[in-house]
């Protein structure tokens, strides 16, 4: 069946009537033998979820590596609330920049979620505008991260040492925030690509994609959103485990 539907906001259309009636029966029925799992599912959404699951393990390994080096060093860990303090009017504000970055990224997730909702309402321009806001907030986040990196590098933080304590601090910091920042940057680029398609009305006219030669739908906006929310989700863990711990 050609992919014509713009999507109705769920990966899965109404099930065939032969399926058992409850969610639990359906779960076991789907995984039972001689059946295709995710019957009627949108392959696009299933695949983005599989990708995000694999990315979960990438970041999971980074954070576990960070935990291991932090727990095993006999040298005190640098005090993050002092390291990441920002001086305003002669007074140091602990973790201020990180807090602002957190609010910026959460806001971008908010605008993205609303953009997806407007996409399914076929409000083309509103969707593109909200996605543009998302991209702008994402770029702001990356900019602040560049500022933070510059500040720390000037203060002498290196992957092999720093002025305040355990050497492993630098390598964990650059690895984890660097990978996350890369994800945000890729997300901003992907957002710009999808915004162009939305603005041009590709998802209304069924215009075929340059790479895929397939017509897209407003489901593409939701898939973009899934990636973006995931990036925000990773930041929630980094904020808690690296900056606040």
């Amino acid at each position: 069946m050609a992919h014509t539907a713009a999507g109705d906001g769920t990966a899965f259309r109404a099930p065939p009537s032969t399926l058992p009636p409850t969610r639990w029966h359906r779960l076991s029925a789907e995984w039972a033998g001689d059946r295709q799992v995710f019957d009627g599912a949108s392959w696009r959404k299933a695949m983005i979820w599989v990708f995000l699951l694999s990315d979960t393990f990438v970041f999971g390994c980074f954070l576990i590596g960070y935990m291991t080096v932090r727990m095993s060093t006999s040298v005190p860990w640098p005090k993050t609330s002092e390291v990441f303090a920002l001086e305003i009017a002669g007074k140091p504000w602990p973790l201020l920049l990180i807090a602002i970055m957190t609010f910026v990224l959460i806001s971008s997730s908010g605008t993205m979620a609303i953009a997806v909702a407007f996409g399914y309402r076929r409000r083309r321009r509103t969707t593109a505008f909200l996605m543009g806001l998302t991209a702008l907030l994402g770029a702001t986040f990356v900019g602040m991260q560049a500022f933070e990196w510059t500040k720390l590098i000037l203060e002498g933080v290196r992957p092999w040492g720093n002025p305040w304590g355990a050497e492993q601090f630098g390598s964990a910091f650059f690895m984890i925030t660097g990978f996350h920042g890369t994800h945000v940057t890729i997300g901003v680029i992907a957002l710009l690509v999808i915004i162009r398609k939305v603005w041009r009305g590709d998802f209304d006219t069924g215009r075929r994609g340059f790479f895929t030669s397939r017509p897209g739908g407003y489901e593409n906006v939701e898939i973009m959103g899934l990636y973006w929310h995931f990036v925000d989700l990773v930041w929630v863990f980094i904020f808690a485990l690296f900056y606040l711990w």
């Binding site: 109705d8 906001g9 769920t10 990966a11 899965f12 109404a14 099930p15 399926l19 009636p21 409850t22 969610r23 639990w24 359906r26 779960l27 789907e30 995984w31 995710f38 599912a41 299933a46 979820w49 995000l52 699951l53 979960t56 393990f57 999971g60 576990i64 935990m67 291991t68 932090r70 727990m71 095993s72 060093t73 006999s74 609330s81 602990p94 973790l95 807090a99 957190t102 609010f103 959460i106 806001s107 997730s109 908010g110 993205m112 979620a113 609303i114 909702a117 399914y120 939701e222 959103g225 929310h229 995931f230 989700l233 929630v236 863990f237 904020f239 808690a240 485990l241 606040l244 711990w245």
Partner: protein, 110 residues
């Protein structure tokens, strides 16, 4: 029919997203306050983890629409990361051992 509950997703009011957004702001502010008021020890760690998990749950369930997906997908996504918990436990034991050997070496100086 609960199996098709997801089909009505597009009807979610914008208000729902705004409410979740506001909650994420409040929870982030709370976790920032944990640092600002210098809470330490078990209280600090448990509050950080609590706010982290609630925020993550809100993002995954509402923003990523997982709450409205079918169970077969929900379990595919949520069960494998549970393996990370085992990984964390293994590495915590290992890190403890490494620290013990480092401290022992510093004492004996050999």
């Amino acid at each position: 029919m609960q199996a098709t509950a997801g089909a009505t997703e597009h009807a979610h009011p914008i208000r729902l997203y705004l409410v979740v957004w506001a909650w994420l702001f409040v929870l982030s502010a709370c976790s920032y306050l944990v640092d600002y008021v210098h809470l330490q020890g078990v209280v600090r760690w448990s509050l950080i983890l609590l706010f982290m998990i609630v925020k993550a749950g809100l993002i995954v369930a509402v923003f990523m629409h997982l709450a409205w997906e079918r169970l077969a997908l929900i379990y595919v996504i949520l069960v494998p990361p549970a393996a990370l918990l085992i990984f964390i436990a293994i590495m915590a034991v290992e890190a403890d051992y490494t620290l013990a050997t480092r401290l022992a070496q510093q004492v004996t100086g050999s």
